[in-house]
Symmetry: C2
Subunit: 190 residues, 2 copies
């Protein structure tokens, strides 16, 4: 059994340590709705999940997944690019979660792109509560290429160190480009 966990597992563990029942959270990249459901279960029946995608099919699949799990009531599925999340969310959120690049076995016709991703991360940083977290699981290599990863890392490297801490976890000697994990939190005065 491996002790070192994959990025998505670590992302979920971080989310579980941050999100409490009743919280509001954002799934910035709905896709097939796996994370939307995960988050809906985390926030519980009194919580709220705002989930974004630009593909109608994503909303349909996620709607069905949430309905089957009995979690639809606490979720808002929004057909719009995540760079506009601030238009739809009017409360501080505990967590914003991104999956960037093409997901393995996912639909490769539409993926995230740096310019809109950066705008979305900026909006996310404006929406999180003081004790909130922004988590990015970044798929790269293969069909996704390295460009979005390199650009988003350059942007995050430049985030004001007084305001934010940016943690990056990656497997450095692997040839199959396992996803990397990024987590961002606000630095609060002691």
């Amino acid at each position: 059994m491996a002790h070192l966990k994959k990025a998505l597992y670590q992302a979920h563990a971080l989310a579980q340590s941050v999100v409490k029942a009743g919280d509001a959270v954002i799934d910035a990249t709905m896709g097939n709705g796996y994370d939307t459901l995960f988050l809906a279960q985390l926030v519980g029946e009194n919580g709220r999940v705002y989930a974004f995608d630009i593909q109608e099919l994503a909303l349909q699949r996620t709607h069905q997944r949430l309905q089957e799990a009995g979690c639809l009531d606490r979720c808002r599925l929004i057909l719009e690019g995540h760079q506009h999340m601030d238009k739809h969310v009017e409360e501080p959120v505990k967590l914003v979660m991104f999956n960037l690049g093409y997901l393995p076995k996912g639909d490769h016709s539409i993926g995230t792109r740096y310019e809109t991703t950066r705008q979305a991360v900026e909006k996310a940083l404006g929406l999180i509560a003081d004790d909130g977290l922004v988590i990015l699981v970044v798929y790269y290599g293969g069909d996704s290429g390295f460009e979005e990863r390199d650009q988003i890392l350059a942007y995050l490297n430049g985030l004001d160190a007084r305001k934010y801490s940016v943690m990056k976890t990656e497997f450095i000697n692997q040839i199959n480009c396992p996803p990397l994990l990024i987590a961002i939190e606000k630095n609060l005065p002691d």
Copy 2:
């Protein structure tokens, strides 16, 4: 309260998830003995901790710390460079822990150096059990410089991806060079 934990905290959490009572482990950089005591408490009264340092003063301080905590019985304090750990350890170990560079507020007259560190990591990889872990907390910048960090990362980048997974966690936008965490485990056949 920060959700993103510092490298040493994460290193201890990883150690706690891996080491069980009765295990044998290695503290490759004894120093003031804080980690030696931490590991001695983890392995319990039936476990064994092999701890290395080249400074007599490190052994004296660690001896006292362990004695005060009632953990001396399970520890072997060895006055020799960690690159020779295989001469003193004749059983598989669950964990080998390194602190590299100068420790903050530590004695800056002697620090770890790349060439011996690399030899010690190679020995460590040969000594860990199949489900064992090698953990490195790497202090850099300031008095430690960047050379040992860059060289050890280059070496670990080149480790055979079929045999080992190397995970690196770091804070990427900070100006005060917080330590980085590296963990290495064996890849076992499924």
